[in-house]
Point group: C3
Chain length 341, copies 3
């Protein structure tokens, strides 16, 4: 961390509406973990797992919730949600990279592409015909932006991102390396013993403030578009099939797969490795736990799961063998129940 | 859609052997969904989920199956398989991109590579020593083709595809961005407490008419080759280990993983997120449902599954806890059965 | 295989401490499978599945274990661990690619980057500010190495690898195409109905002799670093979240996902597609079977599993339906047990 920003506890309290306890003149110039922080660093306590680290922390300032604020005898910033407060403070010490306007000499920009003068096109990037890169946007090294794409103002393709064709990004969208948006959806029809490809002609529309993780793939729609509404947050290695729609403020952890034409609501949380089959609807505010498989529509908010618990392999083998016989077992119990006087 | 093709319903009927009902002079110049189509667009009904949209659709022409063709009072093309007919028709309005012959000035082609004069090597692409790019093939922007590879006639690497080494593609193979073919297989041996790498010297052979999705990985064989037979269709983010063989016309949905030396038959369908362990054989015409795990060879065609159904989390926790005790429960039932008079 | 190396069975026996049986003058100039080998090729028998191929093999020399060595009447090299011996021998015929020192004319190296004169920077690669590439390292075609990274001596980024920022690789690290190290971790906080990004300021530290598969992603830490200790081996399409720590000599098969802040021990083996949730600890020498989900810390070495066995779909549907009712079934059995005299 080579931050050049220095702020006092009092200044941070005022800026973010936090309650100061202790020495408001304490200066900090970086953030750190409780265990790693020094006296000029600010840390936070949000996850109760780390509460035991608080007493021994050398942090100059700690952001805590009200429940953790008493009797500590150190400089604190008390927040309703200490993680949110920390996120805001940390951003002061790690401002987003500003674009270096212009097109790098090694980049290739096709005739007919329009690059805003304030945008940055990095080394070895490619911008295809009729594509538009908006004000303050960054297309990092090695990115490929195909034809008929839009990179909205303030958006950033970190490096080696591919927008294949007809991909329209809103403003302040952040896409990490290796992500591929706008590849053909998986459309096939069996014709006389051979597959024929169903042409994929739609695009991908990504709303404002979305974040898309490394090596995540979002296919273009078959006819109409695949859509991510505003503020959708996708982690790494997520697969989104053609014509999926993901509602605003929904977040998905790594390795989730969403099959074609699924419609996911707003404010959903999907755990890592979960799967959602195609052509179903998931309502708002649904939580799917890790590696669960959603095989039909969900109409009620709440938390949903599938799978079995982790067991030592020897015990698991016994349970797994019994799972095969489960229907017979249930029938046996029913019979016994009838026969029991 | 900026198609410049216009066709009449009668012309389409004749071209694809469909039965025309209604006004054969109806002109269409694009395809669309039932709900999105206008009077100069053609749509189709294949999935019964969308039947209710048919009556209200403004589509000029609709492709339907015989079961849906009666009493509609509109211009129809009646097909034995309306999805297949639609795929053929849609392709007329979205012809595959023709190569722009030549090597882009920003591409790097090693001495000794052979590029057919009719092939296109796109911007910022790399072609390694002794590799061959066939007639009419397209190597898109940012692709890396290593040494000793063959890109067959009419094949297309869309963008940012990597063929690492000794990868031989047949004709008309389509590979989407981020795919990596020919990386080393995962070969390790434990020697005195440290891993040693087992050299991976084989290649990857891909048959004609295969399609490989975005960010899919297919490792080179350890000694002999990893093989995809003709017309294999792989969706995005699939992992294929070294020395796997996938039979002709098999299709796999996104995020499937196939471990080393597995042999998969022809005409198999593997659902999203499914896993197939190594060194097993799966016969022809096997269907694996989403997120199932195949742990031993399958000798009979049919549909196979594993996993548990999605439940609300509270109910699931109860079932999951009982799964742990399943063997004890089954023994208890056996005892009761014996004791019951 | 265009190997130019020729060795006798006797020379190999001496070099690797193997017991020679048969004709020590037998020359070999390549390795091959038992079924594919010719008289000038060496093969091996390690997996008992392939024992039946031994008698018919035309291999000039075969590496076998002691249990398989008798009565074969052919030239053998008898090894304690034939797979390890084979790995060493195969490496003689497939030496790692030597760097071609220098920076390719098409590569872009930012001012302030330091490239060792013996290192190779390949075509269309990018090296960012303040990054260091060590002696004998290879940065292959299309790689992007961002700011403040270190590629240790003898390491190799095969092609199209991305090191985003603050990624430090040890010596002899091998990274396959499409891998992304150092992308932002997935850090979000919900603030008034919208997500805010938690800045990710840490790096990634990779020990010596690690291997990282194609399209694998390893996120940078939120504050401190994500760490792979020495000799960690990751297959393709693995996702490693921020602040994970993976112990030395641990190997993971393809498509594993490890969520943020999980700590994995040494000498663990994680099967393909398995998941490990965040903020837990797994001790040394734990084996996780394919597609299992680890939801809490593991304190004892051993093998762990979850999931259900593969069944034909019709039978599976019955078992799956009963799984939903499992708690009720168990209660019914308890009641019957009480009622049974």
């Amino acid at each position: 961390m080579h931050s050049t920003t220095t702020l006092t506890a009092a200044a941070l309290a005022e800026r973010f509406g936090l309650v100061l306890r202790g020495d408001g003149e304490t200066e900090v110039d970086a953030v750190a973990t409780l265990s790693g922080a020094g006296p000029r660093q600010l840390s936070f306590l949000s996850n109760p797992r780390y509460r035991s680290q608080l007493a021994g922390s050398a942090a100059g300032v700690v952001v805590v919730g009200e429940a953790d604020a008493d009797g500590l005898g150190r400089t604190l910033l008390v927040a309703r949600d200490p993680y949110v407060a920390f996120a805001h403070i940390a951003a002061l010490f790690d401002p987003p990279q500003a674009p270096r306007p212009g097109v790098h000499a090694s980049a290739v920009v096709e005739a007919g592409a329009r690059i805003d003068p304030s945008a940055e096109i990095g080394p070895l990037a490619f911008i295809g015909e009729r594509s538009v890169v908006g004000a303050g946007a960054i297309v990092g090294p090695g990115c490929v932006v195909g034809e008929d794409c839009v990179v909205g103002a303030g958006s950033r393709l970190v490096a080696r991102v591919t927008l294949v064709r007809r991909v329209r990004l809103g403003e302040r969208v952040l896409i990490h390396p290796g992500a591929v948006l706008g590849a053909d959806g998986f459309g096939l029809a069996m014709d006389g013993g051979r597959w024929i490809k169903v042409p994929q002609q739609g695009g991908v529309v990504v709303g404002d403030d979305c974040e898309i993780g490394a090596n995540t793939t979002i296919d273009r729609g078959a006819i109409e578009d695949t859509v991510l509404e505003d503020d959708v947050r996708l982690d790494n290695q997520i697969q989104v099939g053609h014509n999926v729609r993901i509602g605003a403020h929904t977040a998905m952890a790594g390795c989730v797969a969403v099959a074609g034409s699924a419609v996911i609501g707003r404010y959903c949380l999907v755990g890592g490795g979960a799967g959602i089959v195609g052509h179903i609807t998931v309502c708002d505010r649904v939580v799917i736990t890790a590696m669960a498989l959603v095989t039909s529509s969900i109409d009620a908010p709440g938390e949903y799961s599938s799978g079995t618990p982790l067991m030592d392999n020897r015990s698991w083998r016994k349970s797994a063998a019994r799972f095969r016989q489960l229907d017979a077992l249930a029938r046996q119990v029913q019979r016994l129940d009838k026969e029991t006087p």
